[in-house]
Symmetry: C2
Subunit: 250 residues, 2 copies
DNA sequence: CGGTTCATTGATTCGCGTCAATGCAGGTGG
DNA sequence: CCACCTGCATTGACGCGAATCAATGAACCG
């Protein structure tokens, strides 16, 4: 089926999901207060719900690829997503990571400007783009919210340009860890020790470095006493002041 | 006066400007069809005009600095602007250039996320942010247009991340020249030879390089026969296919 | 328990940065 | 009209931070 994500659609939308999506679905949604939905009153939420499909995906499944017609927008409910662009020879730049509460496709572009892939198991609320655009005409506060979120994304993108253009490897990694911590905190999740759901390769491709440099820089910060690495997928921010200083170019 | 740009406000808004802004001002505006205004009908344009001030600035004047409260949004009518972020030690990343028809502040953020400086003589239509936000409530098509423009900026920002994170100096410069050419064409201006209103330092800080590397790379492309440099502020795109290939990582 | 994948560490290379000198155009005053 | 300055831009010599190439280690898993 052409409009659905590639990769195993693991536990497909279940009957329970559908029932929930039909009756009370959003009431107990963990991300309601931090996502695009936060501006909607109950009646508006019900409208949005009519165009919503809950989708579950396995790690490594591709949501869509750069250049495809943009069929859907999504709200990440659970899990993590990476967005990336490729050069023909395979060089990759990850342009962002999405976590619960983040919205995929604020820009409303007709074609996807990047590819998207699940890092972990994923749960999404998915909206057909055309129906969403129609809905926006009736819910100006929803459109206003999208503009606000687009503004936040632009600010983040500009920070990332500063990072990629002008920061050293140490500064990049420090900025990255603090960004993850800030976002984890914003959605009320543990920020110290901080989970790192993505691989070293993903971190490298996000920071414009190689795997080896990321690894060496982790080691360096660990020997510094700035961080600790109890596991590969978890960092403890031991000296946060030091990280802040590094991130700002200190 | 605290709400006005620093730097000499060269030829301040003249009586003629005010008259024009009051009566027919937008009718003969060169950028009307490519700017934020293009979606407005005459009555709506008149509404927007009531909150508009025409501002003229000299080269090198600062429009605002990162971190300040965002008092105004602007539409560039004539001239060029650079947007940049600084690290405490002076490292600079230019995050964008604005040309006629471009809008400054689509994000509607409460504080400026970057500094803005005039590259050339400048003419702007300036709108108080709060009044603009009020107006958006009444003109949903204007808000929709801003969201569309924000989407375009996001796409450009992602392209720039790919450039900064993964492209070589040659590829960066090729991408840059093609981007300028594309935008010049979009506003109906000469694209070959292509004017370069910004300095080598600005180009370097936009591409995440040094002045020297930019200069050497220009020389290299010139010796290649890919471009010609009749003057310092003008490039001729001799072999555009080669540039395209380079820009895509060929 | 061997195989696979990913992270770490080491040795070496290289593209771009740094430092320094020279070139070149535009403005200014004698 | 020219000497001089000043602010870019270019060019050259050299160094360094991160990339590349290669090996080893550690976790996971069928």
């Amino acid at each position: 089926m052409s409009t659905s994500p590639r990769g195993q659609e693991a536990a497909r939308t279940t009957t329970a999901d559908r029932l929930r999506a039909f009756e009370s679905p959003c009431d107990d949604c963990a991300i309601r207060e931090t996502s695009v939905c936060e501006v909607l009153d109950p009646a508006q939420l019900a409208r949005l719900r009519t165009i919503t499909t809950v989708v579950r995906l396995d790690p490594h499944s591709t949501l869509f690829q750069e250049g495809e017609a943009a069929e859907h927008l999504s709200n990440v409910v659970e899990g993590a997503v990476k967005l990336y662009k490729l050069l023909p020879d395979g060089r990759r730049q990850i342009t962002g990571f999405l976590f619960p509460g983040d919205f995929l496709g604020v820009a409303l572009n007709k074609t996807y400007a990047y590819s998207a892939e699940a890092i972990t198991k994923l749960r999404l609320c998915r909206f057909p783009r055309q129906r969403m655009e129609n809905l926006l005409k009736e819910l100006p506060n929803l459109e206003h919210r999208l503009l606000e979120m687009a503004g936040n994304e632009l600010v983040a993108a500009q920070d990332q340009m500063l990072l990629l253009g002008r920061k050293t490897a140490r500064e990049r990694l420090a900025s990255f860890l603090l960004m993850l911590a800030r976002r984890a905190r914003a959605r009320g999740q543990p920020e110290n020790p901080l989970p790192l759901p993505m691989s070293r390769a993903d971190i490298a491709d996000y920071l414009g470095l190689t795997i080896e440099t990321v690894s060496r820089t982790f080691t360096q910060l660990r020997k510094d006493g700035t961080i600790a690495l109890p596991e590969q997928t978890r960092v403890e921010l031991v000296n946060r002041a030091k990280l802040e200083e590094l991130a700002e170019g200190g």
